[in-house]
């Protein structure tokens, strides 16, 4: 016989912020109970979690998103690469901030190394890296005229408030606590796709709505995140009071490590 497996609840609440309140990845989720059965019924390897894994059918802006992933850990690079590919994104994974800048052509070298046509739609970088940290990389990107509009997401295994604040203040789109999950990547992708679509529409209309784009990139989409919140918070704690889209602001607890 197989025993049922109850999983721990990981739950980190969103710290309250003063205006504007950027939403950022602050929590892991979902207590899941797995009943493991034998033989044919035991599709343990393919256990399907609430969200379906599948190839996205978005046509949106017409092309795939290209994501530049930066992480010194080979394991994490492999995982993020797979997460992105399975979410229909093109991926370039590099091991350091220096390499990332080289790829972008920001390293001061004159050669562009075939950069043309490889537009990057999103940069995801680990925070703690030897040499140049993710924070330093973020700053360099935001200082660059050519690339500062590219959304940058910081990933970290440490849930340190001051670190999160610093990154967001420097212009990071989001701060994701590792390990990164498929839900995180899909949420990001949808958000970026929406941004690209709007940009495309504005260009077509001939509107110079740069400001809108800027605003958009500063305040992450309110729709997908809260609905995900709701879906998940309803799974989390049956007795929990936070079941509305206002979930983040209602969470009273602050969890800060270190």
């Amino acid at each position: 016989m197989f025993s049922s497996i109850a999983h721990n609840l990981h739950y980190k609440s969103l710290p309250l912020h003063s205006v504007p309140p950027p939403l950022y990845k602050y929590w892991k989720q979902i207590p899941r109970t797995f009943l493991v059965m034998g033989s044919a019924a035991g599709e343990f390897l393919r256990h399907v979690l609430p969200e379906k894994v599948g190839v996205s059918d978005h046509s949106a802006a017409g092309s795939e998103l290209h994501v530049l992933a930066v992480d010194d850990s080979h394991v994490d690079r492999k995982v993020i690469e797979r997460l992105l590919k399975i979410s229909s994104c093109k991926v370039t994974a590099v091991e350091s901030g220096t390499r990332a800048l080289q790829f972008l052509g920001l390293d001061g070298e004159e050669n562009s190394v075939g950069f043309d046509g490889l537009k990057v739609n999103l940069i995801m970088t680990d925070y703690s890296m030897p040499g140049m940290t993710g924070y330093e990389l973020l700053k360099k990107i935001k200082e660059s005229k050519a690339f500062r509009k590219i959304p940058v997401v910081i990933m970290s295994s440490e849930n340190i408030l001051t670190r999160i604040d610093r990154c967001l203040e420097e212009g990071a789109e989001e701060f994701i606590v590792k390990p990164v999950k498929l839900a995180d990547v899909r949420r990001l992708r949808d958000f970026i796709m929406r941004g690209e679509e709007e940009g495309e529409e504005n260009r077509k209309k001939g509107n110079h709505k740069r400001k809108l784009q800027d605003d958009y990139s500063i305040s992450p989409p309110l729709s997908p995140a809260p609905s995900l919140d709701c879906e998940i918070s309803s799974l989390l704690l049956p007795s929990s009071s936070s079941s509305s889209p206002e979930c983040p602001s209602k969470r009273p607890r602050l969890w800060v490590e270190d």
């Binding site: 025993s3 999983h7 797995f34 044919a40 035991g42 394991v75 797979r82 997460l83 399975i86 498929l182």
Partner: protein, 156 residues
């Protein structure tokens, strides 16, 4: 009755996985990795795990090397290796390994060399257990794939 081989192996795998989850050796992140495995990437989990083993053994060697040095004092450097190891352990769902690293880190932050040595032994122990069990799991998987590929004239 070789046709049942694949089913039996799958049952064995599930049982092993259930045990590992029950023992807290693996957590939901491991399931996430399995979710990422499909026809386009049929060996994803074992590939990631093998990279993890490779990286981890280097880090563990470094940690032991540092601590065995009589004149060891570079706790900061040790902290860096430790954080890397914790990060990748967490990325593959190696919960128990990661948890014993927390104790290690605490000892390191207190510059407690003896405590670090004890913690390192615990970490090595947990890591060995994990590695053995995952090897077992992957072997079962390989056998299952082979068994599932066998064709019989009677069956259709």
């Amino acid at each position: 009755m070789l046709g049942l081989g694949a089913d039996r192996l799958r049952a064995d795998m599930n049982r092993l996985l259930a045990l590992l989850f029950h023992q807290g050796v693996l957590d939901e992140q491991f399931l996430q990795l399995q979710q990422l495995q499909d026809e386009t990437s049929p060996n994803f989990v074992s590939e990631v795990v093998n990279i993890y083993f490779h990286e981890s053994e280097k880090l563990l060697r470094n940690l032991r090397g540092l601590l065995m040095d009589r004149e060891f004092s570079d706790y900061k450097k040790m902290g860096i290796h430790l954080n890397q190891f914790m990060g990748s352990s967490s990325s593959i769902g190696a919960k128990r390994v990661r948890n014993v690293c927390v104790a290690f880190r605490a000892a390191s932050e207190q510059n407690n060399r003896a405590g670090c040595l004890r913690a390192l032994e615990l970490v090595e122990h947990e890591y060995c257990y994990l590695k053995n069990k995952l090897h077992e799991l992957f072997q079962l998987e390989q056998q299952r794939v082979l068994a599932a590929g066998v064709r019989y004239p009677i069956q259709n």
